[in-house]
């Protein structure tokens, strides 16, 4: 693979990766958010495979494929199932729409998009010294990973639905993984496996929590958790 083409493809994968995070902020429909998240998983996998292919590290390619399966396959599937359970339950009361849409985030969509713009700039500014240490096409894309971490955190902070919180958490994790790939050309296999396992566990826990919440409050608006305080 020629360097030029490699750089192009890497940039493209990074662009898609970042764009997916932005679109998560943009759309309200939870099913669409899950779909976009799956796309982000694919671009992350592509990133890993590209890096591995370029440096002839086949374990990295393996990790990439694994990540692809987990983040574009398993996790979205789990989330979709959770969503399906939610809507099936709610269909009876005719309030399915309110439960499957992020209707009223704490910060409105336009403002969160502008915030995301600033966060991206911040990520670029912060990552600049790191990039200059060792400028390769991969490290040059480092800010993208960092930006996704920040955006994921932002989603976690501002969204109300438990499921979008899960997505926020996963964005955060995707961002960390991407940063690791880009900065060091991949974490050791065993660490990646451990992290992925943790993530899976976390999602399962959150799913259980969501189900419990729904049973307790009839909604997954996490603002209702405040009631626990009383």
């Amino acid at each position: 693979m020629s360097t030029g083409l490699y750089t192009q493809l890497l940039d493209l994968a990074c662009g898609a990766f970042l764009l997916a995070a932005v679109i998560v902020l943009w759309v309200r429909e939870l099913t669409a958010i899950v779909r976009v998240f799956a796309l982000q998983g694919i671009s992350l996998a592509a990133l890993a495979v590209l890096l591995g292919g370029h440096e002839h590290r086949w374990d990295l390619v393996g990790v990439g494929v694994g990540i692809g399966l987990l983040r574009a396959g398993v996790l979205p599937h789990l989330m979709r199932r959770a969503l399906a359970v939610l809507t099936a339950d709610r269909q009876r009361y005719g309030t399915a729409a309110t439960e499957t849409r992020e209707t009223q985030p704490l910060i409105n969509v336009a403002a969160s998009l502008l915030t995301a713009a600033l966060l991206t700039l911040l990520a670029y500014a912060v990552a600049r010294p790191l990039t200059e240490l060792h400028p390769t096409p991969a490290t040059r894309a480092l800010p993208v990973g960092l930006a996704v971490v920040l955006i994921g955190f932002f989603v976690l902070v501002t969204r109300r639905r438990a499921l979008s919180q899960v997505v926020g958490f996963l964005l955060l994790d995707n961002g960390i993984t991407a940063t690791a790939f880009l900065a060091t050309s991949g974490v050791p296999l065993i660490v990646e496996l451990g992290v992925s396992f943790d993530v899976l566990l976390a999602v399962l826990v959150l799913q259980i929590l969501t189900t419990r919440m729904r049973e307790a409050f009839g909604t997954t608006d996490i603002d209702d958790l405040r009631e626990l305080h009383d």
């Binding site: 336009a110 403002a111 700039l121 670029y124 500014a125 600049r128």
Partner: protein
């Protein structure tokens, strides 16, 4: 009296041997200003206004001549040791000073002509009064003279004279409206706070640099420690940006400009605020010789905030002159972005780009002066004809005041920064300098420049909405009040003054190249290489690996040709039917009344909703039910206000704290003489203690 005093020393100035017209023109301007002040004091009312107006116009012409000469390449400097006690007076004219003098002179001359017509129609008070007419020439004179100052003391004296003169003029109509007095208090307090900051900053600078003339400061600047330089810049920049009306120290501007008589508003908005920019460029880039990036980033942030916040407030304003005042804030913000970018590029070592950014900023100062003076004068004509500033009650002025409306439209075209207006040219240049700035390495640059471009674009977009509102609601459609319906066109002298300004706008829009060399020299005066960006009939940006061109004249010609095409071609084809007049389509109901038309407030409503989070409008609905039943409504009162939020959040706490401190200090004053003497004694002892410990 300054006029007489410098008259005595005219010979001292000439003896410096300058062969240019500068000293002569300066002396003439000063003499005319003094004569104008005397005439304003002494002449009877009938003669006072035309004589003072003519003399003031002379001041403007004289100052403008100096400016043009300086832009043409002449330089002049003189020291008049006897004029001011202690320090003496130092004067110098270079191209940078010349540019601002030329602007001030041109604006003063045109506005003075306009002012004759304006003041004549007023009662015994206001602009026609003895005080106002005596102060007006002095104000004009200080506007022209401030850039000539070449030492700290001279500068500060002229600066303060200018502030005092403008304050008196702002207060001219204080008998007619209580709000004038309030505006005067705000203006007085803020301008003097600015003076204090300037005083501290310059005193510090002069002490460290070892001399108070500008030459000494320039020479000694590099010996000053970076921390002190930074402190000096912050202090001075705070004062100068406040004078320029930049957020957050803008609070005086939207009060003082609308409440002043319109010619004075025009002078303040088109000439006085510029001097804030002048001071900033002079001190920051020239005397201090540039500085680290954070100075300029701060300046750009201030500029960006002013640009967007100012134009948003303008979009919400329904008072025509308040709208124009906020638009001044916006334009000065744009200029500050340019000045900041220039300093930033210089800090990173890209001097040609720095020159380009500064040229763009200075060109915008020129353009802004031209269209803003015209806008304020046109607003003044409207005010004089209708007594109204409230856009919600104006309307229908186009057929009643066609010349004023046309000139307002011309100026508004400049203000919206679209071709073929003059504002577009400078904003284009500014955008070019920012877009090409990415070649400068540095994270700060890469983050700040795109944001600056976005802010400029947003402010330009909203500016378009603002001036569509001002023109469309204020001048078009049908009158919304009796006063507007009875409006008459302004008298010829006012139209003449406005016509001069309009010609200036058109010239700047069509052949900005006329300014080219002068602009380069002005940029060169702060030690940057001339950019040659503005030359001939077009604008060229040609740096190491970038280029872009714009020829305004061609754009206008092409637009005209296309317009003829668009009008002509359909006529060739279409069967010529006579144009029919019909009533407005009213959906079949009765004829729509002016009350149904969109007002300025309703026009701005969508924008207000979009920027809800920034503007935080206040709404209040009071429903009064009839006595018998809570369900029957007798009256609904709806109140809507868009307060200046920065003022609300920033100034009110400070004012409250000050008031609290005042209350507390009152407690100290118990009325007992012993107590007061005791304070004095304690103070003395403490002072001695400090001295004893310190030395």
């Amino acid at each position: 009296m300054p006029a007489g005093a410098s008259g005595d020393h005219r010979r001292a100035a000439e003896s410096d041997g300058a062969v240019s017209v500068i000293p002569a023109a300066l002396a003439t301007a000063t003499a005319l200003g003094g004569a104008g002040a005397l005439a304003g004091c002494s002449l009877p009312r009938g003669m006072r206004i035309p004589v003072v107006g003519a003399l003031t116009a002379g001041v403007g012409v004289g100052g403008g001549a100096v400016g043009v000469a300086a832009l043409g390449g002449s330089r002049w400097a003189a020291a008049l040791p006897g004029v001011l006690p202690l320090a003496g007076t130092h004067l110098a004219v270079d191209a940078l000073a010349g540019l601002f003098m030329a602007i001030a002179g041109a604006v003063v001359a045109a506005v003075a002509v306009y002012g004759i017509g304006y003041a004549a129609g007023h009662g015994p008070h206001g602009l026609g009064s003895r005080t106002a007419q005596a102060v007006l020439p002095l104000f004009a004179l200080t506007l022209v003279l401030v850039p000539v100052a070449a030492s700290v003391s001279t500068f500060l004296v002229l600066w303060e004279l200018m502030a005092l003169a403008s304050l008196l003029l702002v207060l001219a109509e204080h008998r007619e409206r209580a709000s004038v007095r309030q505006a005067g208090v705000w203006y007085a307090v803020m301008t003097h706070l600015g003076l204090v900051l300037l005083l501290i900053g310059f005193a510090l600078f002069a002490a460290q640099a070892g001399g108070e003339t500008f030459a000494a400061l320039r020479a000694g600047a590099h010996t000053v420690s970076p921390m002190v330089r930074g402190l000096v810049f912050v202090l001075v920049a705070a004062a100068f940006t406040s004078k320029a009306g930049a957020v957050p120290l803008h609070a005086w501007l939207p009060r003082a400009h609308p409440e002043a008589p319109s010619p004075v508003s025009a002078l303040m908005s088109a000439a006085m605020v510029n001097l804030g920019i002048y001071g900033l460029v002079r001190t920051g880039l020239d005397l201090l010789g540039g500085g680290p990036a954070w100075w300029w980033l701060g300046l750009m942030a201030t500029g960006g905030a002013s640009a967007v916040y100012g134009i948003l407030q303008a979009a919400m304003a329904s008072d025509l002159k308040r709208l124009l005042a906020y638009s001044t804030s916006e334009n000065m913000g744009l200029v500050l972005i340019g000045v900041g970018a220039s300093g930033l590029f210089a800090a990173y070592g890209d001097r040609p780009l720095a020159a380009l950014a500064l040229a763009a900023a200075l060109l915008h100062v020129v353009n802004h002066a031209a269209f803003k003076a015209l806008l304020f004068c046109a607003a003044g004509s409207v005010l004089r004809a209708t007594g109204l500033r409230d856009l919600d009650r104006l309307g229908g002025l186009r057929p009643r005041m066609p010349v004023t409306a046309g000139l307002f439209a011309l100026a508004a075209l400049g203000a919206v920064a679209l071709p073929p207006g003059n504002g577009f040219i400078s904003e284009w240049l500014l955008l070019q300098s920012l877009i090409h700035g990415l070649a400068v390495p540095g994270v700060a640059v890469a983050v700040v420049l795109p944001l600056s471009v976005a802010l400029i674009a947003l402010s330009a977009g909203i500016a378009a909405a603002v001036f569509v509102k001002a023109l469309g609601v204020g001048f078009f459609a049908r009158p919304r009040s009796e006063q507007a319906a009875d409006a008459k066109e302004a008298p010829p002298l006012m139209l003449a003054g406005m016509g001069l300004l309009g010609a200036g706008c058109a010239a700047l829009a069509l052949v900005p190249g006329l300014l080219g060399d002068g602009l380069d020299r002005a940029v060169g005066a702060v030690g940057l290489p001339g950019s040659g960006a503005v030359a001939g009939g077009g604008l060229k940006v040609r740096l190491a690996d970038v280029s872009a061109t714009l020829s305004p004249l061609w754009v206008v010609a092409a637009l005209t040709a296309a317009l003829l095409l668009a009008v002509g071609l359909p006529r060739l084809y279409g069967r010529r039917r006579r144009r029919a007049n019909a009533r407005l389509w009213d959906c079949g109901g009765g004829a729509p009344t002016p009350r149904m038309a969109y007002t300025a407030t309703s026009f701005a409503e969508p924008l207000q909703r979009v920027f809800d989070d920034v503007l935080a409008p206040e709404q209040d609905v009071n429903v009064t039910p009839v006595r018998e039943s809570a369900y029957l409504v007798e009256r609904v009162r709806f109140q809507h206000r868009v307060p200046d939020r920065i003022e609300h959040r920033l100034y009110e706490p400070v004012l409250r704290a000050l008031a609290g401190a005042g209350q507390a200090s009152r407690r100290l004053a118990g009325g007992s003489v012993h107590l007061y003497l005791g304070y004095g004694f304690v103070g003395l002892v403490v002072l001695l203690l400090i001295l004893a410990v310190g030395w």
